[in-house]
Subunit: 474 residues, 2 copies
Amino acid sequence: MSNKKLVESITSRDKDFARWYTEICLEAELMDYSDVQGFIIYRPYGYGIWENIQDYLNKRFKETNHKNVYMPMLIPESLFQIEKDHVDGFAPETAMVTTTGENKLAERLIIRPTSEVLFAKHYAKIIESHRDLPKLYNQWCSVVRWEKTTRPFLRGKEFLWQEGHTAHATKEEAVEETLRMLKIYEDLGKEVLAIPFVTGKKTESEKFAGAIDTYTIEALMYDGKALQSGTSHYFGQDFAKAFDIKFQNKESKTEYVYQTSWGVSTRLIGAVIMVHGDDEGLVLPPFVAPDQVVIIPIQQKNEKVIEVTNKINNELKELNIRVKLDDSNRRPGWKFSEYEMKGVPLRIEIGPRDIENGVATIVKRHNREKITVELSKITEIIPKLLQEIHDEMYQKALNHVNENTNEAKDYNHFKELLEQGGYVKLSINEEAEEIIKEETGATARVIVEGEMLTDVCPVTNKKTTHTILFARAY
Amino acid sequence: MSNKKLVESITSRDKDFARWYTEICLEAELMDYSDVQGFIIYRPYGYGIWENIQDYLNKRFKETNHKNVYMPMLIPESLFQIEKDHVDGFAPETAMVTTTGENKLAERLIIRPTSEVLFAKHYAKIIESHRDLPKLYNQWCSVVRWEKTTRPFLRGKEFLWQEGHTAHATKEEAVEETLRMLKIYEDLGKEVLAIPFVTGKKTESEKFAGAIDTYTIEALMYDGKALQSGTSHYFGQDFAKAFDIKFQNKESKTEYVYQTSWGVSTRLIGAVIMVHGDDEGLVLPPFVAPDQVVIIPIQQKNEKVIEVTNKINNELKELNIRVKLDDSNRRPGWKFSEYEMKGVPLRIEIGPRDIENGVATIVKRHNREKITVELSKITEIIPKLLQEIHDEMYQKALNHVNENTNEAKDYNHFKELLEQGGYVKLSINEEAEEIIKEETGATARVIVEGEMLTDVCPVTNKKTTHTILFARAY
């Protein structure tokens, strides 16, 4: 049984990471390009990853008493312009409907780039009393932002996401909510994506248009660049004042509500590819993989082989494992390459000789380890193997973060470390952030809590105000 | 415990059905209007109904090997115009993006009113061989059609739906798929919505723009009008020829694929309201209800009451029943009216005296029947009651269809029966359909299979060509 690659091979990730990424997106059939630049087709295998993310988050959102809703896709331009910071942030990227059939509209309508204003307007109408609070709503939808440069999953003119929008009676509750949702995103990384997110607060210049505080989950890619993978915003009362969202508190006084919003998008698919993938293709963590196990019969027309592979297929299905039996008449070697490219975590090979010996070969995608397992033990061992693989992949990604997180105390050392890739901590005066960005291309990923590394900022020579985790980023 | 209505009462459905409908939509908090005419906000309770429909259909779609995908929201105008019948059907209703930021686009982009052309283009690219077939894709999304008159859920400028698009190697397989999906929609009515759909083929004039055959599920509303509630189309090779979707068959000859598409939308929420609702508000069939059971403590601060209601709440949750314990400090009478308006199938009332007697009162929403049940039997009886309620609601709706389906053999009798509401069968020459529509407002809902009622068409005096189930419709 030849294991030589029969699908087209891809560029090595060390040779050209950007090209490697695009080739995986296409070869693993995650997406395809459409006729409109920056709009992609989410193919079944890519969309399946998103569905698994949705299932996990919907469960967590519902446990924490959130409700799903759906707001209109179109926003009148005048409504969009009510909150000033917000409109300044988004106006250049808006796609506008001006015509229907052959009629010109009286007012231009913006395809939602995000739905803050729609939720704010609705909340102003339905919230009257403290008994109506908190309002904990979430929406799954697609949004449109007319970005100039686009890349599959990472930055598109249209992307899929969830946006949570909540209103609370007190600041404390709203801040608690902001951090609760950040934690759920962090758990998504730990439990599903096998990605150790660095979490923390964004600096003033990096925060969301209209937010008081923006918290982020940041992931470190294989190439040493960071990817902002989700955000959770505390809005205070700014939107409430702009949109007049008031309630009667327990003392019958009128107050403005405190708001939050939080979201993750199909950008997470890009993170999974760039954290875990290798030169053979995609490597999917088991709990986000559309197919967790593929069974490949060797001699797929042999009756014994048909019987045993079907039996194992059914037993694994009973355990709610996402298993695929590929009994098509393509050659085993072709199938091996195909499912390696697609990053299926476990491959089970079963042929006539295996059956005689009462065993099967199991191959782990993430480290290519082969093990021989007794046929009678397969259904028992698979769930354990999936958990083991998840844990190993998470640990490997965590090691990558740890090995690529450094501290600098002077600017030259900072620049040297930056060239190696990864995160670099530096204590700075806030005025230095823009200079560093300009001179090195590194941006502030999060504010690091705790003591200053130095008292004086090595860039401005002014007093340090905070420690920042810098990185070059997507 | 006063049972008098504390929420605002609604118009009687016999007095003004249209107003009754709109009031339920708002009072039961299913939706709200937005700032753009014809675009609604799907509030949690309305969206929850849609989520239950999605869960059922996703399960059925996946069992039948369909995969979810996501296509771009925007379609270049030139792509949209490739299939002539299709563009003629949709062009007047298209919403067009012409501007981004302050830049004019080179080509206008249409917000999808439906995605046939996107799937056709993609299939042309990814299908090469008979081994690539069938392709069984489905998409959940919202679509935009610039309708002039709109009503919540029934007809909107934007609505939520699923659209299945499939490609097959043979006509037989494609026709089989068209009917398979129609059957799944019929099952959705039987098993979830408690709506007996009449199914069948549409006439030439009522079929979908671009289809060879359109099959439909039709529901009969309380007011005797019909509602087209979903469709399944057989496209033959028309789109395949327009978009050049070819494959090599087993004999290595090049052929065009055979296609289908099928969809249901949030219009189904409108059907549920108008089939089952009554003068106290919404009446939800148990398997589509976001809350299946509400527990209302009488004296919600009594310790025994707290203990017992919490215990039952938890036990029902364990059984995966969607239960809500309303221990807010609103008065029981207020809560009774509230959950009647929202159509929650079962209400459990538990007070201190009930606990002393070891019983609780259960009230069924659909027929207002009260029963006394031993506390220890509640968790055992609830699942049975939910199934019973579903069956009774389905039977009642079926009786309504049967009692309001008539046959006519002459045109005057047809008009008389039509005035009574409901379906009227009439055998006609195909030329009569337009005349009947013009003169009576009744449209052809489906073609009835079987023998002619008369040999001569009572409208045109020509030979009858088919029997039609007519009704006035939404």
